[in-house]
Symmetry: D2
Subunit: 434 residues, 4 copies
């Protein structure tokens, strides 16, 4: 079940995978670099015996593609055997690490998971459930955590709720996952989110929830809607596909292309927004770029060199069809702009009358400090150029982004719910438009 659940989250991290299994007495772990289906052979799964388990898929930030950072982490502590995995990124990692080093602690990795474990083990209580509350005091930033002992599992979500974490139920068993796609695959029903500032514990004594004060201003990652989550997921209580269509509709309202002949997506992540855009405009939607099934998702590959090669192998524009047409290309986001440039070069070779690029998110001008692997600020094209500059760089007749207000409206919140800091407001959340 955990293996299948990880498989359904594979898009969230392709670099490595791991699983920890508890059998009431101890915890067995297996972790390795690679895709879920490569990491876990039948033999590994047979060896991982028990009745509760946590798992993780990981993508790397530069320099940390090392086995030692692969989650879950499994340690002995004064609270006994603990395995822990998390999604997100702490913002006070350096200070906490220095503090622990000064107190004689050892760090085997550069993973925040290990730091979270040090925070827990530093608590005098021998009870993991109690000890986990320290995270709300000490850990700053984004963390959705699953932790286990040989006998129980706890799920913790930071008070601002940056990263998703859902609760599902399968017969008598409880399931936690980043996205509901994991629940779908194993046939579990979606119950609700783990709330920001909540600790949920499942063990012999059943299901317990401890709610702690949420931040007055939440910071759910709006990029989950834009790009990161699978379209068939429910994230932060909302169906992603429908949110993406609304982003496309809003984009059409804000930045229509009046003489458009067809609207095409950059597949697959731009499909829903392109359908929304086309429907709003009343212009035919078509798959003008065909995606090969035999290459993975490019955003989360660790090396620039491979990414470029991947684009070339991945997409091919239709022959004949685009000739002399005014084509609107809808993409979900624009990061470095290099992929878009290649795509538009390929499309130009098919002879369209014009190519207008529409982006169903605002300009990304800041790196993410909360767990999305965006490039450094200086690599972000929108931090250096305006829409005209970008159009010129990528070779499009025009480029238009969605506004931050339009984004929030389409998502459906009131601006106090979502983190939009990658769009440049500097505060970690809130609405910003030029």
């Amino acid at each position: 079940m955990t293996y299948l659940g990880l498989h359904a989250l594979q898009h969230r991290g392709q670099e490595s995978a791991g699983m920890a299994v508890g059998d009431g007495n101890g915890i067995n772990v297996y972790r390795h670099m690679g895709l879920v289906s490569d990491v876990f052979t039948e033999e590994h799964l047979r060896a991982l015996k028990g009745y509760l388990a946590i798992g993780h898929v990981r993508y790397s930030t530069t320099g940390s593609s090392r086995l030692v950072n692969v989650q879950p982490f499994s340690v002995r502590s004064r609270q006994g055997a603990i395995a822990l995995a998390h999604n997100g990124n702490l913002t006070n990692t350096r200070a906490l690490t220095e503090e622990f080093l000064g107190r004689g602690r050892l760090f085997h990795s550069s993973s925040d998971s290990e730091l979270l474990l040090h925070l827990v083990a530093a608590q005098e209580t021998l009870n993991l459930e109690d000890a986990l509350q320290v995270l709300f005091d000490k850990a700053e930033g984004a963390y959705s955590v699953v932790a286990m002992t040989p006998k129980g599992i706890a799920a913790v979500r930071d008070p601002k709720g940056y990263r998703p974490l859902v609760i599902g139920k399968l017969d008598d068993a409880w399931v936690f996952a980043s996205e509901t796609t994991s629940l779908d695959l194993i046939g579990a029903t979606y119950e609700r989110e783990v709330e920001p500032g909540e600790i949920v514990v499942v063990d012999y004594n059943g299901f317990r929830s401890h709610r702690f004060p949420q931040s007055p201003r939440l910071a759910r990652c709006v990029f989950e809607f834009i790009y990161f989550a699978r379209p068939d997921s429910i994230v932060f209580g909302k169906p992603v596909y429908e949110v993406r269509k609304r982003l496309g509709r809003q984009l059409a309202i804000e930045s229509p292309v009046q003489d458009a002949d067809i609207v095409i997506p950059v597949p697959d992540s731009g499909v829903a927004a392109a359908i929304g855009y086309a429907q709003q405009m009343g212009v035919p939607f078509d798959m003008g770029l065909i995606r090969s099934h035999y290459v993975g998702r490019t955003f989360i590959e660790p090396e620039q060199r491979i990414r470029n090669f991947g684009v070339k192998l991945k997409l091919n524009p239709l022959p004949y069809y685009l000739k002399d047409k005014v084509v609107v290309v809808v993409d979900d986001s624009l990061v470095r702009g290099t992929t878009s440039k290649k795509i538009i070069q390929m499309l130009r070779a098919r002879g369209p009358k014009a190519i207008h690029l529409r982006v169903s998110s605002p300009p990304v001008t800041e790196s993410c400090h909360y767990g999305i692997d965006t490039p450094r600020r200086e690599e972000l094209i929108a931090s250096r150029m305006d829409e005209e500059g970008i159009a010129s760089f990528v070779g499009a007749d025009s480029v238009r982004y969605l506004s931050v207000r339009g984004l929030i409206e389409a998502v459906g919140g009131d601006g106090t719910q979502y983190c939009t800091s990658c769009f440049g407001n500097g505060s970690g959340h809130g609405i910003t438009d030029a």
Copy 2:
């Protein structure tokens, strides 16, 4: 270049891949089970030195998943070193094999490629170009062949033209490929098809074409349009995506669903037809089933057991969105019906008002003897049930197929151009409707 060309044809065969390279003096071959990107490492590619090459990707028919059958074949013959790869299926394999065995020949494999080589080597001429003409006399059925010596390449297509084979040009070099996607990836331009009954030779003396009588009635495989080719390919001179959209439009004309709320494809092969169907009907198109990127194409996996598992891992219907809607599901074809049954089960769980299945091809009632790996007749659901029976089996409110006449009309031929024998006319080509 050949490696990239194979990569762009990966959808035509995932079981094994091979390449033969000539350097003027000899031929080096490497062949292995697996995907192109797994079979050929940098080290292999570096070792395969030369200036001309042929390659092949293969999917297996039952029982022949053996390395010894992987193409290209490379032999010494009285015509010197020859490597040969083909697409298609001979229909007189058994008789020819018996004849050669009786004359003391050895067979190392069960591949028609080896038989084609025996036919060539049995010719007294020492010239490969001349010897290849024997194929038109002796080989019956479907064969698109590339053959090479250390110094030249020949391309041959059977007189009925069952399987595709195109000619491209890249600067001064000539390229042959099953689909134009190979040309696109390496930046070659599409010139034309190798004609049915044509032998094209490229060597030091340049490009030569020898045309032999075509069959009065051609038999191009219409399934290339329906399912097999990539939508961004030009096959038999026509753009596949546009043909598929026309199939969808024709299907909407023949079998509309009057109260439809949305039209969704079975991705990815049903997308173009679903867009055509939706546009013809004026009903919104949506991606109601989301396909995971982390599993391959199911049609050509060798084992039934894996196929079912693959369906479960591959597709997931949108949450909420389909609830209380009348949904039209468009698929390109219906073979066994077991995949469709699972898909409709998954959709039903999302609470639609009705599910109507529309298939953008006629009922497949016969196995293919010309190179498409269809199941045996008794496994084909349309050979045992009518549309109502099938609707009941798969759990749809209705099932409707495209007519053979509608198919031919949408493809654009006059009925003497295409093989439609899998739809049951028994003659290997021609139009049949009940």
Copy 3:
């Protein structure tokens, strides 16, 4: 160089291997399960750049065949980045671990290496050289340690000197290794042992030695001479091959076989003692059992099942040659007796007149607590049977062991130098004879 050094120590541990390399700024580590030549590919070695390095080969004790236990360990501590590897076994592991857990420390492994690192990091000094002295206060048992920062290497040996550790020199570079075979392979010269209770540091400031009080009674592991070290090594200052020959000579003096026709070893570990025995007796030495090159050493395989299979594949007695002869079989030690039983069964099938087993070490009656992977006491045949019982069990006409006094005499010490606790004196060292 470090790779080759590990290769020359491969016999000391076949389960896993690792290496840490420092470049003045940081430490890179690679560790994996498997033999040295399998663990490190060219690619790994190229990635491990730097000018100082430590490495380790490991064999497992039951239950700990996990990647997480593979040495060297690499951590950040208040003393900065440290990598550490050790040979030996602490005897106060449990108490120290409990103490550290109680103080909020985390343990990722069950390796003493991690415990040694906790001891170091608990010291307030930021200087590794000073911090390492804590080992002499706190760590009990056997430990030969190499530790490194990005800029220097330290070697530490426990005050009783259980396990070997030598110093070599190669041009201007200093080399530490468990055996001199590593020095031989890379062309370094043997300088001397790291003394019991010594810390040697090599860094930018050159070579420094800090000597601390040795134990009044040393406890060098006499099993290094008997079995564990390679015969071409110098261990504890003595050449192993010559010591083994003296063990054989002493055995012949103590337990001659008067009518012996030939003396044969159990290859390869019994060869030197058998030559000594044969020379002392004036009886021909012969290789009566032929060892296959295609299986590894059996003593250190983790599973009983594999060990038995290995014996069957590994040794084959000569045909014809042993027929009607009185054969003396010399083996280095007798642990469980199961291998000897199989060997004597195989020899019997060749028709000798008699088979006398002579063992060039005393009866092993106790498990080792200082780093040799002997079975538990109850599996040791000599803890349950006397020589007659063992002869009956293994099927030999007689079995005789070397006496402890004879052992010490042959080794050349005075009884206060060596640990002989596996022969049953209970004190960890000293001479015991029944």
Copy 4:
């Protein structure tokens, strides 16, 4: 059983391995590059079901390290399904191949096995047993063959008997193998050799022998005794270890070293001869060079580069022991002299008074054309230098070879039994001494 049998013959070929299994109806084959234990996994062995099997291990001659050459070969022919493997080398390969190519045959490999199959399939009889007789008419050179149909196995040995082939029995089953070590491992008893010019067939009708005229002068490969066979084998009816000891004794008689202090072998192949030499001389035998267990046999590695590296990793001379001694080094043969040179360099560094190299075979001055992978003539040191020149090249105080007469005497034949052509008589057999 066949797997174990191959394992016991691993020393005869490390490059690749294969097995064909018959179940009464068909033949399954698996072949791959690598050692037996790597090629065949449990999964492969489980898939190879049947009740009769043949197997093969192969070492390569330059340029042919290709999977396509790995034996056994399995084909369909007019005699039905046949699998065939052989040991040896035909001397009329080129002429036969040209003849078959001219008759329209295809060659997939450069292996004589394929040629043997063409010879068989060219026979009009549909009976394999009869068809195999063609080998005696047409195939020249060395061939020990096992061939199988789905229902029976035949073993054939050329009329001169170059290469070994023995018959064993295990309960009711018959076993064929190159050496008796295979019989030993599976517990079969040694019956006799397949005679030169004999065809043995085992099938449902039991065991049948067909004897054809032997050559008046046999040509058993004397190198099997000198080096190639395992010492625990019986080859050509004689125990190899004892023959090797006699070679060493004869060498001592012909070329004693009067003031020798010790005799040491180049392990492992020189051990038996060194023991014989030492016993004849009455000088102590010692293992002066210690061989690592973690590298394979060097003679049959395909690349010069690896061989040199292998020597360095493989052997290490004892420290101290050789100092100021007159050392006799006994090796089985001297091919290029480069390995000996390195060995003597290593020994010199240990400070002996003198080093005398004694070789227990005559000078190898010619390449082998009958299946031993010796280098080309110009690489053979003895084809260019006399004993003094070689001593100077390798750095020994003296070098002496065994005479051809001494060799034959020690082996025990009369000079009409063995092939000694690699020692330079040019006739393919017979005695030659300068």
